[in-house]
Point group: C2
């Protein structure tokens, strides 16, 4: 069997052709360098006892730790478009989605598993670049690609990323621990990713290399911040569906309400009128939203990423969110969710 | 947010419509019973500290154990066809694929995570029945459905199952431990699943309820046998791609060759001439293939499933497999792989 057999799993090579007469075939992975890189990097992980090449991966997690698991789809047409997103960005974003969930639990990422279904006619260079984008972020976050599955997709590219992480026993940050009086914080800046998507939808050309568009094409999961918040934050979530929706998750799981100061939300103001809308309801920021007691010593920044207080948790059996403006006026916020690739106005 | 929000994950409700203008919508899960059943069952798992409703599931694995992870696609047109396989069978087979990998490691299944992409026009009853088939097998094997993701598929049904299991430290059965002189064993009977697929392809009608067709529609992962083999077997694998292919994996990973006695392979003889072919090269048996020292006390059966000695491991740097017939004639076996939904003749 050729070397690619070991890429992720024996089954990873087997690509099915379109039904009803499907022929399994070997994925013509041209870049052996890439495979060697996956394997070399995998060998360096002390947690991975058995990786690619057996029925299961075998992992040894630190004693006294709990296991964190999250899975996230990255589907063509839903989460990305091949004409908008370069393959490196698709791979990066695919892994970033999972890593961001680990960050939101205050966890340490351990291993990633990639299930990838590809259209029969896809360019091998697209696959190589996708994997390169994913692996660059994996190396940066010290997470090993430990397995997965590969198949042919009857539709577009369908990737499913599974992240395994660990957190000291009982220390994982949940959505359910926010208490009235807690201060509400957010990392980084909100709304830029949604702004970029809005521009793309509008037919505008946005360079994936531009610094301004980086939060959309190259979101940075806040692993270091999540880790720093262990024992400090009372509740945490990552902002994947937009501040209004994700804050609602915290409020519902914790049985509380929230007041958010409109003028405190860190956002890109160059978009004038819409910036508040994108910051409140835009998705895919992958910043952390968390709560901590008023007395807690929350750092002003971690690794150069700013942490901003944007409001407070209040008693409210209806789990409502209110926005206060600079005149002290309160306005009820309806969670608007995140509507992929549609006008969010 | 309606109750289904908790089915697997907040994101599980969000179903995207076809690109380019995708609207997220709420999955109209009609059967609240099913959801309640998932949640009730999840609450009974001592390993699951935090399940559906947070960024990650939090699991507490037994001390001194290692973590096993496997992921497997079940794609429409590749692994099943909606006109051939009832939804309960698709759900059952989806989970069985993952459980069988845990069995092959001698592991205990702990939790399953399901990522499911569905076509926009799918009948809700299909989804309910799919989940019912999956959950019935989950309950039977004491594995909890602890999370996942749901999205709209631009093509057919696309399911990705991730199984998390555990095995006492250092005790997981690998593919790499077979030694010359070891006896080669197989559980159950081989080839029936491939025979049924052959019949379906032939346009024959096969009832999913018939006892004879059960190994295809309702394969039983050999969890109890895998567990019984810990400390007994030197190498193990599950037969998903066919005996010839999966034995080749053991031989390559262990650096050995194998002799298989043609007349010892347990198979359905009613198919006369083809039964050897299906038993050797047919896939999706989900039986275990393992090796043990000649002196090891391998039971004749576990839980009513027969264990049969079919040959032995030999020294061979070329990792070849030879078949010996009743006259002592040797014939080289070429691993034929498993060709889904194509003529395997």
């Amino acid at each position: 069997m050729p070397l690619p057999a070991r890429l992720l799993d024996a089954s990873l090579l087997l690509i099915g052709r379109a039904s009803p007469a499907i022929v399994w075939d070997v994925l013509p992975l041209s870049e052996l360098n890439l495979i060697e890189r996956i394997r070399r990097f995998a060998r360096r992980s002390p947690a991975l006892r058995v990786g690619i090449g057996d029925d299961c991966a075998v992992l040894r997690l630190p004693a006294g730790h709990e296991t964190l698991v999250t899975t996230d789809f990255s589907l063509e047409g839903t989460h990305f478009r091949r004409d908008w997103h370069p393959p490196e960005s698709v791979g990066h974003r695919c892994l970033a989605r999972g890593l961001s969930d680990i960050a939101a639990m205050g966890g340490d990422p351990v291993a990633a598993f990639l299930s990838l279904a590809l259209p029969a006619d896809i360019d091998q260079r697209w696959v190589d670049s996708f994997l390169r984008g994913l692996l660059d972020l994996a190396v940066k976050n010290k997470v090993v690609l430990a397995g997965g599955d590969l198949a042919q997709s009857p539709g577009g590219v369908c990737a499913d990323i599974m992240l395994l992480g660990s957190a000291p026993r009982g220390k994982a940050l949940l959505r359910s621990g926010a208490r009235p009086g807690d201060v509400l914080y957010v990392t980084g800046q909100l709304g830029v990713s949604a702004m970029v998507l809005h521009a793309l939808r509008d037919g505008q050309s946005v360079s994936p290399k531009s610094k301004q568009a980086a939060p959309h094409f190259w979101p940075q999961p806040r692993i270091a911040i999540g880790r720093a918040l262990r024992g400090l934050a009372t509740a945490a979530i990552d902002i994947s569906d937009g501040l209004s929706t994700d804050l609602t998750h915290i409020c519902r799981e914790s049985g509380v309400g929230a007041l958010v100061r409109e003028y405190s939300i860190p956002r890109e103001v160059s978009f004038q009128g819409s910036s508040l809308h994108f910051a409140l309801h835009g998705g895919e920021d992958y910043e952390l939203l968390f709560t901590a007691p008023a007395k807690a010593r929350v750092p002003e920044s971690v690794g150069g990423v700013r942490i901003t207080s944007i409001g407070e948790i209040v008693r409210d059996p209806k789990h409502r969110i209110f926005l206060t403006d600079s005149h002290g006026q309160r306005k009820l916020v309806t969670p608007a969710g995140w509507q992929h690739f549609t006008s969010s106005e």
